[in-house]
Amino acid sequence: MSDERLVSVTSDKPGPLERLARGADLLAAAQGDGAEARAAREALVRGLRELSRTAPAELRAWLNTQAGRSPGCDWVAARLFSALGENEAAAKAWGGVIEREFGPRVERHLARGRLRADAGDAAGACADLREAFREPASHRDLERGAKLLARLRESGAPLPAARRVKIALLGGFTTQLMRPILDVSCLAHGIDARIYECEYGLYRQEVLDRASGLHRFRPDVVVLATHWRDAQLPPFVEDVDAAVDRIVGGLEALWDICTGELRAHVIQHNFDVPTVESYGQLSRALAGGRARVLARANLELLARARDGVSILDFDGAAAAFGKDRWSAPKLWYLAKQHPAPEALPLWVDHLVAQLRALLGLGKKVLALDLDNTLWGGVIGEDGLDGIRLGAHSPEGEAHQDLQRYARELRERGVVLVVCSKNNEADAREPFEAHPEMILRMEDIAVFRANWIDKASNLREIAATLGLGLESFVFVDDNPTERAWVRREIPEMAVPEVGSDPAAFVRLLDRGRWFEALALSEEDRLRAADYAANARRAELAGAATSMDEFLASLEMTATVGAFDAVNLPRVTQLVNKSNQFNLTTRRYTQEQLRAFAESGRHVTRWFRLRDRFGDNGLVGVMLGIVDEPAATLEIDLWLMSCRVLGRRMEELMCGTLMQAARERGLTRLRGRYLPTAKNGMVADLYPSLGFKDCGSTQPGETVWEYDLSSQPLIQCPLVRLEECSG
């Protein structure tokens, strides 16, 4: 239906101005980020493109009115400015699209990458390539990325990469469509690949002929991309052993030359067993059936693979993709293309995973969120009985499977860490007491549950382990947390696992982050080693590392007495806080205003900012002046859980002590009234040095701090900015 509307832009030969006017209407109606709006905008660009040749001045003028109005307008403007050849204006328009994170992420990043490449910023363009291909992409998008990479290579600029490697691609089929996809996928994963391709089908000759291009290239890795046709098997063989020996032995001879003379690592593809067989199920049922013999050959490849040779499960990749769509006979006949172009990204992902493992770029740590990731629900709110975990519910079983997968990773040497926004005690509870937990505390090398932002936590965890952030994979159901960590720590892998637990394991597995070429006893013990080291580091440097970390947050607090501006938020906090709340007394806004205006009360609100943002108003204190007893009684003390663990409590207490001093009062008295929810502050007063002075009510505790004999509490980690009133 967008075509009908488009007709109004192109038919009846209206003049350019009229077309542009209609175009403006169409554009105004197609502002969303959905498929329909996108299609409408594409159609609009196609309809108006011609004006770049026939009426460029009118088009340019119109674009100048549209650009900057919205990301949708910017998108259209960027495309049409490009058609006009106005690269600067196009760049600016793309900037609008990128900033608002509009449209498909691959498209945005490739557009910006191209602009950066044109401006000579190769490093920036590579960063965009990495961002574009964080997640599996279509072969179409990868080809676009490859074109950008080709441009960068032509420019001769050095490309930032963790490893440089020479790869020889020797195919039993055409590898020309796959090669650029391999190139860009490698770069996106930190590998700058120089690729040599031989003429299809001539892989044997390339290896055997010592004067070939392959030998002159001196590769680091030889990829033998053979497939089922290269086994040259009839549908049925009599002598299976001889057939398998011929097939595998023939390849072994090539391995010997590659590893021996070329000193290259070989990645040997196994045989993708076809599903179309004239023998039907006999192909498997008979010992000599082709499918059966190929399967045996594949096992034999694994048996004979030795140091320097790894087997790539081409058959497995085909199965994962779907063998019906993998085979594409038309393209084989046309160009000896195999597998189907749609399958290339999946195949390349398998290959790049092996290359990463080979080059030591495999990931080492799996960082896990807790709520709605390792169990259904929020432990701090739902409690041990309320979280969903276990085979008795679909949700619970899905979460349990993620735990199982994580534990299996740990068993082969991957380090597990927890990074959760929770009170630590709440977070530990399921690990210690829930019968359906698969993971236990001893599986977790570093356990961080607090209210500090996750990027900071992950940095601290990495420092504790002594491992780089680029060796981490972070799994969290919350898209905001994922986006935050991706932004703050671009080198960390943050797979797009979505929020449906049923898909977590598959989406995590798909990244092949922890691919390894071998498993040693050392690997299996490694996770335990890291855990032990981490504990040691924690014990040794507990205070200092946390303090350093807090200092690095550059926290700044502002404090003031209750005033008109802050009163609504103060009231809200007073009535809503349950956990960090010493007395849980509730007051109306009027009552709180009255306290502020009375001469016999000390009121304070607290705001906290840090390097990552403004936490807003996070604390409230109310003191009642008791002149005869020279005491300031703390009637209200509450704080938002968001800023627990930052030592804000010390700042708040110190502020009130200062206020008491200024009024000539010598004692501070505080009460703790226990409720079902405020257990976390039961020991707050004694922890600050207050002394127990008995109580009159059952359950309640009363504490006192003597300002004449005890020191004022300071909090050097939080800078106090202003104190009004």
């Binding site: 488009l6 196609r46 490009s82 074109k147 469509l177 160009a335």
Partner: protein, 79 residues
């Protein structure tokens, strides 16, 4: 019809990585730099994907110019 040609042109621009490429019914392979057999395969794959159609190798072999491609495409889309 115009829109079909424009959409086809877009596919060409994509495959040949040339935003300024202009094609017409008379365009042949010799007219476009880099239009070799590899890019021809890429073109076929891209057209099939962009328009959700399938061409047989025989149909593909019959194309002599862009006009032939466009007419074949139009026939598939309307038929």
């Amino acid at each position: 019809m115009d829109d079909l040609m424009e959409r086809l042109s877009d596919v060409f621009r994509e495959v040949f990585d040339d935003e300024a490429l202009e094609i017409s019914d008379a365009t042949v392979a010799a007219d476009v730099a880099d239009w070799d057999s590899l890019n021809h395969v890429k073109l076929v794959v891209a057209i099939e994907e962009a328009f959700a159609v399938q061409f047989s190798n025989r149909e593909i072999a019959a194309w002599e110019n862009v006009g032939d491609m466009r007419r074949a495409l139009y026939a598939k889309l309307s038929g």
